[in-house]
Symmetry: C2
Subunit: 307 residues, 2 copies
């Protein structure tokens, strides 16, 4: 049986990396030949999780590494813009996700998406449905991603199912999820070792809001003023990206994970979209978006509507 | 709580009608306010099932009946071309399906598709997962659709999961599924009361194979020669549809459900696609496609590849 490539989205976050690992474990338990990959290296938050468990980071796939015709399983994404370049030419066996539907196929496949806060919450259900045991390591991977995606169950994307999964998984893992989760999130906010270019690509999603070509990048922090010290440098980097990628808008969300607000820096000819969507006035390209922490729930739909 | 509209595809087949009924039953049992509708009247095969159970046909939705912003659940389809005209403006809560992915959304939703022979096989799993009892009526609805979509478990679309579901459901329903299924399929092949226009729309799927605009219509029969007596009339009707809808190809599959072959009649400027896809020569617009019974598995992917 040919090997199945399992991977999450580009610029992988904790959900993409851990869901790939957890899905490969499930597939293996079900007797399938599957291997975990990633479309990028783990961020600092994910590194914290992998170090905590003593797990190695998945091998990174470069363009062309997945041959045409190969079997793949996508986790935590389905949008071709966030996937391998030859997605149209591979055989997608399964998708497990919690995002909007963007992929199109000419063949039926297993598609499992749910409107929950994290792919791992769907994975948690898949283990239960298939009667596969969740061990301590798998439980820790799952709960780490749910805490990451829901900012410790505080994001508006967080559902009752996410909360119940975390509570059950914390018991299995034998972890105080609140203190573990805060340490993990804080590890992710450490920007000290990054260049501006790196900060701008840490969790950058390139997508289209109707006809508007955008990058929406999100950086978590425990202190907005700390990150705003880099504003001039960040803006210079954003301008470069706008030019080289022909973007209409580059939106950087600096999200305060303690107080649940985001400072936005918006550049590009469609920066007006931010003002229109949130009823704010950009001053010196920036504004505070009160209560906004979720790109998926509080940014993309509203911006799409106004685009 | 606002009512949720549940419906299958246009030109509904037994799977679309029964899955809507079965999904509405599940949603109601889960405490949701949901109602069954249909995008057309039941065909003769489905009528046989509804009469057998003493169930009324779902109310037919006409264009505009589902208001913008309404909550909907799609079963047995996701392709906007086969759905309500304002699909982009409603809120799709869930999709339960077994087809290619064609829909695109700007919001996350519950999407459950599996590469099995019938939506009802997925529904069967959903009942199990949610711990909802399958009663005799629901079991009969489910197995009828699986038998219909898999031509009594003989189509290449039929999977082990479909077979197991039918066997279990037959026990619950207390039905000899083979004799019941054959009667049901035969009821569907009775064309005596139909005009040519009606035959041409019985199970017609309008779709695009890459840039090629097609209708692929399938008619089941126990005797191909019986249906071929209508060839001249059918061709006249097909030509009309090609002109009025600007089609590149109208493909009529006359499927022998006893011997598992299909006679194809192909008209339109891209009729060459049929010859190319099956290595046959159309003579007088027609050819026998040996062993071809599944539009989904043996027609659409091959035709798309050659388009």
């Amino acid at each position: 049986m040919d090997k199945t490539y399992i991977f999450g989205h580009k610029n992988p976050d904790t959900d993409s990396i851990t869901s790939s690992l957890v899905m490969a474990n499930l597939e293996t338990k079900l007797g399938n030949n599957a291997e975990t990959y990633a479309l990028g290296t783990p961020n600092k938050e994910t590194e914290y999780v992998l170090n905590y468990l003593g797990i190695e980071a998945p091998k990174v796939l470069n363009d062309g590494d997945v041959p045409d015709g190969a079997n793949v399983i996508l986790v935590d994404h389905n949008n071709p813009e966030e996937s391998i370049p030859n997605l149209d030419n591979v055989n997608i066996l399964k998708i497990v996700d919690h995002h909007c539907v963007k992929v199109s196929t000419s063949y039926p496949l297993y598609y499992r998406a749910e409107p929950v806060g994290c792919t791992e919450t769907v994975m948690y259900k898949l283990y239960k449905e298939n009667g596969v045991e969740i061990d301590k390591k798998i439980a820790t991977l799952m709960l780490s991603a749910i805490i990451s995606d829901t900012l410790l169950l505080k994001s508006p994307t967080c559902t009752e199912e996410d909360v119940n999964a975390v509570k059950d998984l914390a018991k299995i893992a034998g972890i105080d999820y609140e203190s573990y989760g805060l340490e993990m999130l804080k590890a992710g906010t450490d920007l000290s070792s990054f260049t501006t270019e790196e900060i701008l690509s840490l969790d950058a999603k390139q997508t289209s809001l109707k006809d508007v070509k955008v990058i929406i990048n999100q950086v978590n922090t425990a202190s907005i003023p700390e990150v705003m010290k880099l504003k001039a440098d960040l803006e210079a980097g954003m301008k470069k990206e706008i030019e080289s990628k022909g973007l209409d808008l580059f939106m950087l969300l600096i999200t305060d994970i303690v107080n649940s607000n985001s400072q936005v820096i918006a550049l590009g000819k469609r920066a007006d979209l931010v003002e229109k969507s949130y009823g704010v006035k950009l001053e010196d390209n920036t504004a505070l978006l009160k209560g906004v922490v979720s790109r998926k729930k509080q940014v993309i739909p509203i911006m799409t509507e106004n685009a």
